[in-house]
């Protein structure tokens, strides 16, 4: 099991199998819907984990990129008459471009300062979305036209289960490829010692920016999927609270663990569904569970499980 968790290609194949087989075990479309939400969140968290868990740079503003992807597929078709797939691509390009422009100055900051700067970026994006009411519908949000591909309308949990599931498998495959490449090694080197990375010839600013742009692309695609699935978009998609949720998912599952991104997203999406039995105390219980996890498994769930299994096997 520990070896399975550590072998990158088995992980991709394993995930593809799970995505393929899981619907057989889901009792109702409610669960299909929930799992699709897990996949969509996992996609955003995966990108964030490349930035935080591998390159070691924090972002408290990733809901901003999620929001750009979300509003791109709402505004593009509604106001500009773009087909949805093209709007999705334009949104992703816009998120990447913004990450490139904003990232250059703010990635010079470190630690808390970077956290505050990214937070500011996220809040600004959310404010622009809320204030441009003529285009975005303001705080009330706006309906999102359905995705139509070759005359086929992508509607319903089943359809979005497959679209998000397949995209997640591809996203995981790309992330794993990256980590085992010179770029991935540069990310991880920067995380542990920027100074050493620099004297070995790694252009630190360039690779931090690469990680930031890549993570923005993941978040933007996830944001587009999220509202295409829902059929409606509100400024909530870009809210600060969502940025925090992404960070919690990444930390809970395990920073620097690809599989952890999915587990973290699964826990934070699934738990509230099952905690509804606590009625008014739902959020308190959720908060308590997160705190307990972080106290006892500070490295995150997947790395902790992996090292436990590794120790037993040895």
């Amino acid at each position: 099991m520990a070896r399975l968790l550590n072998n990158p290609f088995l992980l991709v194949i394993g995930l593809a199998l799970v995505v393929a087989v899981l619907p057989l075990f889901l009792p109702s479309t409610f669960y299909v819907r929930v799992v699709a939400l897990v996949f969509i969140n996992a996609l955003a968290v995966l990108g964030l984990n490349l930035l935080m868990g591998f390159a070691g740079q924090v972002s408290l503003g990733h809901a901003g990129f999620f929001g750009i992807g979300a509003y791109a597929v709402a505004v593009g078709p509604t106001h500009l008459g773009l087909p949805t797939w093209l709007a999705l691509i334009c949104g992703t390009a816009l998120a990447a471009l913004l990450a490139l422009i904003v990232g250059r100055p703010i990635l010079k900051l470190r630690g808390y300062y970077l956290a505050v700067a990214t937070l500011g970026m996220g809040v600004l994006i959310a404010m622009v979305i809320s204030n441009e009411a003529q285009i975005t519908g303001g705080p009330n949000g706006m309906p999102v036209p359905r995705l139509v591909l070759f005359g086929w309308r992508a509607v319903g949990p089943q359809v979005w289960y497959w679209i998000s599931g397949i995209t997640l498998v591809i996203g995981v495959w790309i992330a794993i490829n990256l980590i085992e490449s010179p770029t991935g090694r540069a990310f991880r080197a920067i995380h542990d010692s920027e100074t050493a990375a620099r004297v070995l010839g790694v252009n630190v600013a360039h690779y931090k920016l690469t990680a930031f742009v890549l993570s923005a692309v993941y978040a933007s695609v996830a944001g587009s999927y999220f509202v295409l699935f829902d059929g409606f978009v509100t400024p909530d998609t870009a809210s600060f609270l969502r940025s925090i949720e992404f960070v919690v998912m990444a930390v809970l599952g395990g920073l620097g663990s690809i599989f952890g991104s999915i587990v973290g997203a699964a826990i934070l999406v699934l738990l509230p569904q099952f905690l509804t039995v606590f009625h008014d105390y739902e959020h308190i219980v959720l908060g308590a569970i997160i705190i307990v996890f972080l106290i006892f498994l500070p490295a995150g769930i997947v790395p902790a499980a992996s090292s436990l299994l590794g120790r037993r096997a040895a």
Binding site: L178, S181, P182, S193, R198, V199, L200, G201, V204, G256
Partner: protein, 262 residues
């Protein structure tokens, strides 16, 4: 032509003059040592030469080219790399991955090809890993190649840093106290490694407190005291230089003296 030229280098921190007008030339294939009491400015000097600090005055020439104020990764490209006194290891990576990072400049760095792992990336990863394995063998770390660097003992990490710096294929390698904190056996191993590096045609500049090591391997020694040059010459001249004895070998306390003479 000297491979490394340091001309009138100076830097101050607040009111403190850390390095004040230091000059030296390092010839190709030399083992050149910089010694001096604690606080003499040795590491600061290294930080300027490796591009981590910008000097306030003076010039640095590498293979005849002015490289003053170049960023460290630009210097690495031009053939200068270094190790650190206080280790700068990539602790979450394995030993061999640490060395593989050192191959960065010799790898194709097209992010798009990395995202989709084209066959060329696989081939390149294999080449990089092979080269890294050779360097680990050179410093005697083959057995621990796949272990996380964070789990290795101190002496091994010192040698790992040397292997990693060598992976960049430097013309000039700066070693900042390669034997600090090492026991006599480990020091002996480092000694062998440094000689092997020099034999491969890499010019070595080192800062070191272990006088036996310095005297044994250095072709020339440069002595710093309070940011200024005190003396420069061959080992036997330095050993008998009255100013050096006063400032460093004898003058700064029994501890240094004992280490120097033992």
């Amino acid at each position: 032509m000297s491979i490394l030229v340091v001309e009138d280098l100076a830097i101050t921190f607040g009111g403190l003059i850390a390095v004040d007008g230091v000059n030296f030339l390092v010839e190709k294939n030399e083992i050149f040592a910089v010694i001096g009491p604690n606080g003499a400015g040795k590491t600061t000097l290294f930080n300027m030469v490796s591009g981590l600090y910008s000097p306030q005055r003076g010039r640095i020439l590498l293979a005849g080219e002015d490289v003053t104020n170049l960023a460290p990764h630009e210097l690495a490209r031009r053939g200068l790399s270094r190790t650190f006194q206080n280790l700068q290891i990539f602790f979450r990576m394995t030993a061999i991955e640490n060395v593989m990072v050192g191959r960065h400049l010799h790898e194709k760095r097209n992010v798009l090809s990395h995202l989709f792992t084209l066959p060329s990336v696989h081939r390149q990863n294999r080449e990089t890993r092979g080269k890294a394995a050779e360097l680990l063998a050179l410093v005697g770390l083959t057995d621990v190649a796949e272990r996380p660097a964070g789990a290795l003992p101190y002496g091994a990490l010192k040698r790992l840093e040397i292997a990693r710096a060598l992976a960049t294929e430097p013309k000039v390698l700066l070693l900042d106290e390669p034997a600090a904190g090492c026991n006599p056996v480990e020091t002996k191993e480092i000694d062998t490694v440094i000689k092997a590096i020099a034999a491969h045609g890499v010019t070595v500049v080192l800062v070191e407190h272990d006088m036996r090591l310095v005297m044994r391997i250095s072709s020339r020694i440069h002595v710093l005291d309070r940011g200024r040059t005190l003396a420069e010459g061959k080992a036997r001249d330095i050993r008998s230089n009255p100013a050096v004895i006063a400032a460093y070998l004898g003058g700064t306390g029994a501890q240094e003296a004992a280490r120097a003479q033992s």
